[in-house]
């Protein structure tokens, strides 16, 4: 006999190729050994794959303490003008409206009167922008609040880019104007700017 294994045994094992169906289930290329954003991690102690900056450091190029664009201040003083990098025109205001409606309107209301949905729901009292104090406030103040927050309001610097925050500030000025057509209450250069923008 040349056949070591009898044919009968071979025949009985004919079902074995069916096992190949099961082999389609390996997932090593689906879940590769790399981190994607927002993944949990069991390597880092805090459980995050996305790393926070090391304490007391800033990313290269992100620390611009002397730039009005990034801080809303020049030499420690709040700026009264939009920084030179931002040009006031209709598209800036249109963009400002989109950002304002997404990020600020839930609390401050679509008209900036402090009557947003959240303010209406709970104990959160949100001030109106349409007060004499805020109408005459330097634009840098709004930028600073939007960036770093104030008292009970959290800062939005981490979520909204500096350019977008300036667009919001310009739009808030337009809102103030729309609710109080008394243009004379604004600083003169803002007056001409807001007029030109509308």
């Amino acid at each position: 006999m040349t056949n070591a294994i009898p044919n009968r045994v071979l025949t009985r094992l004919l079902w074995l190729p069916l096992l190949l169906i099961l082999s389609a289930c390996h997932i090593d290329m689906y879940d590769q050994a790399k981190y994607k954003p927002n993944q949990p991690s069991d390597f880092f102690q805090d459980g995050r794959a996305m790393r926070a900056p090391v304490p007391n450091t800033v990313a290269l190029g992100s620390f611009r303490p002397d730039s009005a664009l990034a801080t809303g201040k020049l030499n420690g003083e709040l700026v009264t003008d939009l920084p030179p990098e931002i040009t006031l025109n209709a598209s800036l205001l249109a963009h400002g409206q989109i950002v304002f409606n997404a990020y600020c309107a839930p609390c401050h209301g679509l008209a900036g009167d402090g009557q947003g949905v959240i303010a209406n729901r709970g104990p959160l009292v949100v001030p109106s922008y349409h007060t004499d104090r805020l109408r005459t406030m330097a634009v840098g103040y709004f930028f600073d609040v939007a960036t770093n927050g104030i008292n009970r309001m959290y800062g939005y610097g981490a979520r909204i880019t500096a350019e977008d925050r300036w667009a919001v500030v310009a739009y808030i000025r337009a809102l103030q104007l729309s609710q109080n057509a008394n243009v004379k209450a604004l600083p003169p250069d803002d007056q001409t700017k807001v007029k030109a923008g509308q």
Partner: protein
């Protein structure tokens, strides 16, 4: 006379198995395909439990909060991202401050530990996907993520199969909407006549020369 090898019934066995074996194989394949497409495997339409009972129905359709408030990188980056605990706290440090449902949020904020949400949409690592291009070219959130404003717990709208991506990449005009309606969850894509949608495809300079269906668009 030699012994009879096959019994009389052998013929019947043969005939039956000639039909039964292909039927069985076909059945197994059909069952596997059915399984592959079923919600049990794809998890489409099945709401997942989360560490916090966060409800889009509540925050999006009742409170009218824009997607960007929480998924703020969606216009700029590949990922839409999950909201930082601070984002929740910007409201919940003031409203519903004592709700037991929000205890994990407060713990996370105080102890600086992440909230680990159960991922709902998760592509295999060999697929490249980017939100910002879709949002910039007029594909709205609800086109891919379904009626999220009605979901108390988030569920997958569809299984994210390759055929689904390709279907739209072959004929984007079916699902394009004006850019200012991207975040509008109540917008109906079909409400704009096809001709105008085709015009949008031209206006947004979406390539229709087959570039979008090249394998290396998504597998790079």
């Amino acid at each position: 006379m030699s012994a009879q090898i096959f019994s009389r019934t052998a013929n019947a066995y043969l005939r039956v198995s000639l039909i039964a074996i292909p039927l069985l194989l076909g059945g197994i394949i059909a069952a596997l395909i059915g399984l592959y497409l079923s919600p049990w495997y794809t998890e489409a339409g099945v709401a997942k439990a989360q560490p916090i009972a966060f409800s889009h129905a509540h925050h999006v359709s009742q409170l009218k909060i824009d997607c960007r408030y929480c998924h703020n990188t969606v216009e700029r980056a590949a990922t839409a991202g999950f909201p930082a605990t601070e984002t929740c706290m910007s409201c919940h440090s003031q409203v519903w401050t004592t709700s037991p449902l929000l205890q994990p949020v407060r713990d996370s904020y105080q102890n600086n530990t992440p909230i680990i949400w159960n991922r709902i949409y998760d592509l295999p690592a060999f697929v490249y996907f980017n939100h910002s291009i879709h949002v910039a070219k007029g594909v709205g959130c609800t086109t891919c993520h379904g009626q999220i404003q009605t979901m108390a717990l988030t569920a997958k709208a569809q299984p994210l199969y390759m055929g689904w991506c390709l279907g739209c990449h072959r004929d984007p005009a079916q699902n394009i909407r004006p850019r200012d309606q991207i975040f509008n969850v109540d917008y109906d894509v079909q409400s704009l006549p096809l001709a105008e949608r085709q015009q949008l495809v031209v206006d947004y300079k979406i390539p229709t020369d087959g570039r979008l269906t090249n394998c290396y668009t998504c597998h790079r």
